[in-house]
């Protein structure tokens, strides 16, 4: 059962991953990302992390990917990658580098510990997460709120319309 | 030993004067020059006090001032003079006002910057010669670079930008490794001396690992050899000297190059004695090549200033030769020759400057018959030329002779070819003198070639007086350097002979070999060179008790 679910979810995630990277249509990229996220949520359940799985679906899939889709729609399909590719050596280079990266990561994975004890009963629940989050990680948690604030400010300031000419910064800079 | 901080006064006075000059209205060039000159003369006066009060019998540092500076890293403000630094302090104090005077009336642009730069330069140069802490020394050493860079770059000739940068990068490249060596010394000092320190006097007690010492020696030697410059590291020199304004050339030749030779004496010999003795033949060989090469290349120049510049390579070769002969006569001769070269080559650059002010040309072909137009200049110029080619009776001869005698005694094979420099110097200097001064008048605008003004005469007279004074009666200088040189050489030979890396008690003083000196090339004996006692023991008038 677990194996089947894993294989299914892993396959889905990988397929989604390939889709994100390979698809020529931005909408499909976004939807592939959604597929990855959902598959990962399944895996999180398998890994005794129900709270994170829920978080994944609600926040990531529900908010972030939707935002992506929204922007993709906003920018239309023409915002693609018109030929020609000016960096001709990029593909082989990327292949080489990614292969090397994979090799290194494979070595790490192979060397990692294999077995694990079954988790304690409360493991992965919202309570468990909360307990840790509000003790050990209270400070990072509070700081995260500051980052979120920065995000808001950023959205406002970058999205704000340009100040009227003539003395705008656009003119003031070469 | 003294309650008045004379040396600090000499270091601070130029800076204080620079501050005053910075406050003067930039359009009042006369006032700016006046302020600068007053400051420099005050420094000269302080140096004069130091010179007079200096105890010639003592080899120890005098006028010592010490204060903690960066105690946590073992860096102290430690200054003092001994017989090795004193002549150079005096040289600096004498040449700087002349350099300023050479600009007065000649340079009218950015006078304020010029005066400030020269004053800062003076402070840094003096600091280099009195610092007794390696970091303090290095600070002054490098602090010379920026003002000199600007001096060449802002007031120099047509190719000044490249020349200034070349000077800066080339000399910096050498010093960079010296800094590394200084730090390594400091790190070494911890284990042996109890506390890490940059104090030169303390570091002289260090016994370095024989595997390490040559590297440190090499790092120091490279930095200093570039500054000197020792052949083949000299190629920054002709460009810098040629493109610099007269004041810059004078300072470069008269004082700046001496930082290198002084550094050898002050740091390399006492700190890395074993390597200094071991590699002395190599350095002497390079020095001799420099003597001949510099002379030959000078001879081939068609640019007056470049000729004088290249002659420095030759002259400094002789000085380096004397340093590494490691015999008392040679080292004292070198020290004296450092002063002499400052006076004579400084004078030559002043001469070129005076000419350039009139004709705006450095090409020898543009000159001829100037002696007819400038009868007051001709004899003064000739005296300077003769001093440079070491005519007996002038200062140059005394130094050159001492170097040659001292070198011949220990390493004839280097002294003999160096004599070729005697011939070459006459060849190129008289060639230049003839091309410029003699023959029918050939300058383009003879009317513009006025004879020397009073200010310009004031440039040469101090030099002429010193040239003859040192040439005829060098005793005041030689006496003051004798004890320090002797002590230094004793230390060098003792350290070089002692087994390294044995931090035990001091090894027994090496017995002086008593073999009679003879005309055989003994190479460099490990002990003191050809026994001084035997040398003096010949009965009769010429040998002192």
């Amino acid at each position: 059962m677990e194996v089947a679910l894993f294989v299914l979810a892993a396959a889905g995630a990988l397929a989604g991953g390939v889709g994100v990277v390979a698809s020529r249509l931005p909408v499909r990229n976004a939807l592939s990302l959604l597929l990855v996220l959902v598959c990962l949520a399944v895996l999180y359940l398998l890994l005794a992390a129900p709270f994170i799985a829920v978080l994944q679906v609600i926040v990531y899939a529900g908010a972030i990917v939707v935002l992506f889709l929204f922007v993709v729609m906003l920018l239309h399909a023409r915002s693609g990658e018109p030929p020609p590719d000016r960096l001709r050596g990029q593909r082989p280079l990327a292949a080489l580098l990614v292969a090397a990266l994979l090799a290194a990561l494979a070595a790490v994975v192979r060397a990692g510990p294999q077995a694990a004890a079954p988790p304690p009963p409360e493991f992965g629940t919202a309570q468990a997460v909360g307990r840790v989050l509000f003790t050990t990680y209270l400070l990072p948690f509070e700081v995260a709120s500051v980052i979120l604030l920065v995000g808001m400010v950023a959205a406002v300031v970058i999205g704000r319309p340009l100040p009227r000419p003539p003395a705008g910064p656009g003119e003031a800079r070469r | 030993m003294t309650s008045v901080p004379w040396l600090s006064a000499a270091l601070v006075l130029p800076l204080a004067t620079a501050a005053v000059a910075a406050a003067v209205d930039r359009r009042r060039t006369g006032a700016l020059y006046g302020v600068g000159m007053a400051g420099m003369l005050a420094v000269a006066a302080v140096a004069g006090v130091v010179f007079v009060r200096f105890d010639a019998r003592s080899a120890a540092l005098q006028f010592v001032e010490r204060a903690p500076w960066i105690p946590s890293v073992g860096i102290g403000y430690h200054v003092g003079v001994d017989g090795i630094s004193l002549p150079l302090v005096m040289l600096t104090a004498v040449m700087m006002p002349l350099a300023l005077l050479s600009a007065w009336g000649s340079i009218t642009e950015r006078v304020k910057e010029l005066v400030v730069v020269l004053l800062v330069l003076e402070s840094a140069l003096l600091g280099t010669f009195v610092a007794q802490d390696l970091v303090l020394f290095y600070v002054f050493w490098e602090a010379v670079l920026i003002p000199m860079y600007f001096l060449i770059g802002l007031w120099g000739g047509p190719a000044r930008v490249l020349a200034a940068m070349k000077f800066l990068l080339y000399t910096m490249a050498g010093s960079a490794l010296m800094l590394v060596a200084i730090i390594v010394l400091y790190l070494q000092s911890g284990a042996q001396l109890g506390a890490r320190t940059f104090d030169l006097v303390a570091l002289q007690g260090l016994r370095l690992d024989p595997a390490l010492e040559p590297w440190l020696f090499a790092a120091f030697a490279l930095a200093l050899a570039i500054k000197v410059p020792v052949w083949p590291l000299h190629t920054w020199l002709p460009d810098a000297h040629t493109e610099a304004p007269t004041a810059g050339s004078v300072i470069l030749a008269a004082v700046l190059l001496k930082m290198g030779t002084y550094g050898f004496l002050r740091f390399v010999l006492p700190l890395f004695s074993a390597s200094a003795v071991r590699y002395a033949p190599a350095l002497m060989a390079l020095a001799v090549v420099g003597v001949l090469y510099g002379g030959a290349v000078s001879w081939a120049q068609r640019d007056v200033k470049r000729l004088v510049a290249m002659s420095s390579v030759s002259h400094l070769g002789l000085i380096t030769l004397g340093l590494f002969a490691l015999s008392p006569e040679a080292v004292q001769g070198s020290l004296l020759q450092m002063v002499n070269h400052g006076l004579s080559t400084g004078g030559l650059f002043l001469l070129v400057g005076v000419l350039y002010d009139r004709t705006h040309s450095r090409r020898m072909d543009d000159y001829g018959g100037v002696a007819s137009l400038m009868p007051r200049l001709a004899p003064l110029a000739l005296i300077v030329v003769l001093s440079s080619l070491a005519l007996p009776g002038t200062n140059g001869f005394v130094g050159e002779f001492l170097v040659l005698v001292g070198t011949y005694r220990v390493a004839p094979r280097y002294a003999v070819p160096a004599l070729g420099g005697v011939i070459l110097s006459a060849a190129y200097l008289l060639w230049m003198y003839q091309k410029v001064m003699h023959g029918p008048v050939a300058v383009r605008e003879p009317a513009a070639v006025r004879d020397l003004s009073r200010r310009e005469q004031a440039l040469f007279w101090p030099l002429v007086i010193l040239i003859f004074w040192i040439g005829l009666y060098p005793a005041p200088l030689l006496r003051r350097s004798e004890a320090s040189v002797r002590a230094l050489l004793a230390l060098v030979h003792e350290r070089a002979a002692a087994p390294a890396a044995v931090p035990a008690q001091a090894p027994p003083a090496p017995s002086f070999p008593t073999a009679p000196s003879a005309v055989v090339d003994r190479g460099l004996p490990a002990g003191p060179p050809a026994d001084a006692r035997e040398f003096r023991a010949a009965p009769g008038g010429e040998v002192r008790p």
Binding site: R86, L87, Q90, L97, V98, A104, L105, V108 | K166, Y170, H234, T235, W236, P238, A296, V297, A300, Q301, S327, P328, E329, A371, P375, P379, L386, P392, G393, F397, V398, F401, L404, G406, Y408, P412, A415, G420, V422, I423, A427, L430, Q434, H438, G439, P440, L472, P474, A475, L478, R479, S517, V519, F535, R536, A537, A538, G540, G541, E542, V543, R544
Partner: protein
């Protein structure tokens, strides 16, 4: 104190003339110039009477000059028989020539400069003569060279004069380098430069070292005294004013080499090999220069070659261990050669500076006094009895022969004899061309003014009668005195009478031959040999081709290599760094994907290092 005065007088003259001379009126300049030297002569002559001079000499220590390490050189003076003789010759002849110059240079704008330099020369020469240490002697040695440079190039506006001065300095410098090396060896091996202690040094040193020292010092002497191979500057030195040629380049300075050898007699006495070399060089030079004089058209250059030749004789004497003979010849040569030069100067003065003998002639009539003076000098030079030169030259040849008999080489004597013949030929030729008709000049020759005539007359008289100093007939006072000084035996008649007569015969034959050849004729071809003589055996050409031009070319090559090679390497290094900078700029493509790739390269490398190690 008095020796200080002796040197100090001309030195003071120099200082006064040098500093304020240009503002003094001409008579005052001449007065200062002549008086200082005249007074010096008076002092020298007066001091020579001091009994101490006959003994170890008057000594004065001036000051500690160079004291460093194991070296301690004192500046001091010694006035003994040798230096007394030389000092009197220098100041005496010097004084006469100063007086002569007052007239000769009367119209020259550089009057004060001239006398200043001439005074300095006398002072320098006295330093050379009196110096108690070889190093002090060397100071004088170089300073006279400087004065020579200044005076040869006195008319520096003319390129040949300036070049000749430089050449003189330079060639001398080449000799001096050897001299200095000799000093170095001496100080290193002997431990002292004090002249008084040379005997003891000679006793102590190994023969090889002594030979090296003496040869090196002699090398210096070949420069100063214009011997082969360094004679080349002296003919050119005739560019200077003629009185200068008389004083410096005939009577005094050029004899410094002989004086030096005499001064260091103990060393040379102990170095037979060196002496042989000295004698040979002297003899070859004597002959060589005489042949060069044979075909020369420039009157002054004839005299210059003659000087070289006569100096050769002196070296023969020094080589034959007969310094008294050499010094006697030095003295008589000072008289007669100065006479000849002054007479030549008188001719030039009269004819606006003409020295080319092809444009002279017929002057015996209008310039009788000058002619007589020249004749006296010429006869002395030719060695016609009883003129001064006869005595001294004969003595030298006798000693040369004696040296040959004692196992030395025969060459010096033979060449000396041959040279005596050639000497007579060339000086007769010169006299004929200059004074005998027909006249080839277009001027109106006149006798010189008294200030020039009187010194000339005095010197002519000395040329005629100076022989008494060495004539056996009168007991050869000077030679005796010097033999005593050098501790040499006085050979009553060292060799057979025919040896003494041979040079005279050669001289007379030479005069006769010359009269036959040149009287009334100007174009006398000596064929191939003549061309060889005229080009001085191609020695200068050889130097030019083998030394000067290669050296110059080498210097120029080095100068190019300096910029291209050494500096080229430095700049290439700098350029490489700069190009690397430009290359790195190109790597910064501006594309995000490239940057990401670079980041990944770094990451992979870090991962690879850490994971795989």
């Amino acid at each position: 104190m008095t020796l200080t005065l002796l040197v100090g007088l001309p030195l003071a003259g120099w200082l006064v003339l040098g500093l304020v001379g240009s503002r003094l009126p001409r008579p005052a300049v001449a007065a200062v110039g002549c008086a200082s030297v005249g007074a010096a002569f008076a002092v020298a002559a007066a001091l020579a009477r001091d009994p101490a001079v006959a003994g170890v000499g008057l000594r004065e220590t001036w000051f500690d000059w160079i004291v460093a390490g194991g070296l301690a050189v004192q500046a001091g003076a010694v006035y003994d028989r040798l230096s007394a003789l030389m000092a009197q010759v220098v100041t005496g002849v010097g004084f006469l020539i100063h007086v002569y110059s007052a007239g000769y240079m009367a119209a020259d704008p550089g009057y004060a400069r001239y006398f200043a330099a001439l005074n300095l020369f006398v002072a320098a020469m006295l330093i050379l003569v009196l110096g108690s240490s070889l190093l002090v002697l060397f100071v004088g040695w170089e300073l006279v060279g400087l004065c020579s440079y200044l005076l040869i190039g006195f008319w520096f506006q003319r390129d040949p004069a300036a070049s000749a001065g430089r050449k003189a300095f330079l060639v001398n410098r080449i000799g001096d380098a050897g001299f200095l090396l000799g000093i170095l060896v001496l100080v290193a091996a002997g431990g002292t430069l004090e002249i008084a202690r040379m005997g003891e040094v000679a006793a102590r040193l190994e023969p090889g070292v002594l030979t090296a020292i003496t040869l090196l010092l002699f090398w210096g002497a070949t420069g100063k005294s214009a011997q082969l191979p360094l004679y080349v500057w002296l003919p050119d030195a005739m560019e200077g004013p003629t009185p200068v040629s008389a004083l410096i380049h005939a009577a005094t300075m050029v004899t410094a080499g002989i004086y030096m050898i005499a001064r260091l007699h103990p060393l040379y006495a102990a170095a037979p090999l060196t002496r042989e070399v000295v004698a040979l060089v002297g003899a070859v030079t004597a002959f060589f220069a005489a042949t060069a004089a044979l075909t020369e058209w420039d009157l002054k250059r004839v005299l210059a070659y003659s000087t070289i030749s006569q100096l050769g004789y002196m070296f023969v004497a020094m080589g034959a261990l007969a310094p008294p003979a050499g010094l006697l010849h030095l003295t008589t040569h000072a008289f007669f050669k100065a006479t000849l030069f002054l007479a030549a100067g008188s001719v030039m003065h009269a004819l606006g500076g003409t020295v080319d003998m092809r444009r002279l002639g017929g002057l015996a009539g209008p310039m009788r006094a000058t002619f007589l003076a020249f004749a006296a000098g010429a006869l002395a030079l030719a060695g016609v009895p009883p003129f001064a030169g006869f005595v001294s030259k004969d003595l030298i040849l006798e000693h040369a022969y004696a040296a040959f008999r004692a196992g030395g080489s025969v060459v010096p004597w033979l060449l000396g004899l041959l040279t005596a013949f050639v000497t007579a030929v060339y000086i007769t030729r010169a006299a004929v061309f200059t004074f005998a008709p027909p006249a080839a000049h277009h001027g109106h020759p006149h006798e010189p003014p008294p200030s020039m005539a009187w010194p000339m007359a005095v010197l002519a008289l000395l040329s005629a009668a100076g022989g008494v100093l060495g004539a056996r007939a009168v007991g050869a006072p000077l030679v005796r005195s010097l033999e005593e000084y050098f501790g040499l035996p006085h050979p009553e008649s060292p060799v057979g009478a025919w040896v003494a007569a041979a040079p005279v015969a050669a001289s007379l034959a030479g005069i006769a031959a010359a009269l036959l050849l040149y009287r009334g004729r100007r174009k006398v071809s000596l064929g191939v040999v003549g061309r060889l003589f005229a080009r001085q055996w191609y020695v200068e050409a050889l130097y030019e081709a083998a030394v000067v031009r290669p050296a110059r070319a080498a210097a120029q090559l080095l100068a190019v290599l300096d910029v291209r090679g050494i500096d080229g390497a430095v700049m290439a290094l700098a350029g490489a760094v700069g190009r690397a900078g430009a290359g790195l700029r190109r790597l910064q493509t501006g594309y995000v994907r490239s940057y990401a790739a670079v980041l990944l390269v770094g990451t992979v490398l870090a991962l690879g290092y850490w994971v795989l190690r």
